[in-house]
Assembly symmetry: C2
Homo-oligomer: 154 residues x 2
């Protein structure tokens, strides 16, 4: 990965292609912390449900809470288990098989980390909304922004 700064020597000949003091830090909106395993509607719901039910949830309750189909839930649980986010226990209640799902400690932790990234996403969005709403900023009072000249539709 070496020193990215040095590449500038061969590039910043006659045009500073990126104002040095620019607030646009690279990767600012990459949201690296959004783990694929967690960042998925269904799984997000499952994990949230389990957070609210530390004692665990039965397959069917989970299914209802997240409005998932059987197969769907089954699949996602597999994945979550393989990722060590949940633990799955099999038992019998009223002569029927019953599956109990619980967050692992690691799962709780990783979910918490994920959520903290989500919070920053929300914070970014809110900040942007506020900025857009204020008067002196770029968007100002104009309902539609004029385009930089020389641009035409897609």
């Amino acid at each position: 990965m070496s020193d990215a700064k040095n590449d500038q020597s061969s590039e910043s000949r006659e045009r500073a292609r990126k104002e040095p003091g620019d607030a646009e830090s690279t990767g600012r909106f990459a949201y690296d912390g959004l783990e694929r395993v967690i960042h998925e509607k269904a799984r997000l719901g499952i994990l949230a449900s389990l957070m609210s039910h530390p004692e665990g949830l039965l397959f069917n309750d989970l299914k209802d809470l997240c409005s998932l189909t059987d197969g769907n839930l089954s699949r996602h649980l597999q994945l979550l288990q393989e990722s060590a986010l949940v633990e799955i226990w099999k038992g019998m209640r009223r002569n029927r098989p019953q599956t109990l799902v619980r967050l692992t400690d690691a799962g709780r932790k990783r979910f918490a980390e994920y959520i903290s990234v989500l919070e920053s996403v929300v914070a970014d969005a809110v900040a942007a909304s506020v900025a857009a709403g204020s008067s002196a900023t770029s968007r100002a009072a104009t309902p539609r922004l004029p385009l930089p000249k020389g641009f035409s539709p897609a």
Copy 2:
């Protein structure tokens, strides 16, 4: 499929399989509002970037901000455009093609709605964490919860 309520008569004999006053409302954690088009790491980043830059962003700036590859960004922009979330303008700057991307008004709106759902996800998670931390609740002080008897590992 008839009347689901009536099925209860044949079921709620000796076990109310779902306490009527139960807080577990069906679909509580379904998070329906998490639009597929928006709920995607890369696209989420793109939209967040654009929220913070109402005047629009150039292809390459967007690429850097979101740490995406060219192809990747191109593909996502297509999708976002097809969903009418962004508008894309082609132009020439310094004898090079330049693509400017901006949120549409609809895009801004739908993103805001999405974000409000995200906020509720975060709220749920925080609420759960708080509940778990308190003393009198189910998790209490035990580091590991005992399993309901009759359950064995996956």
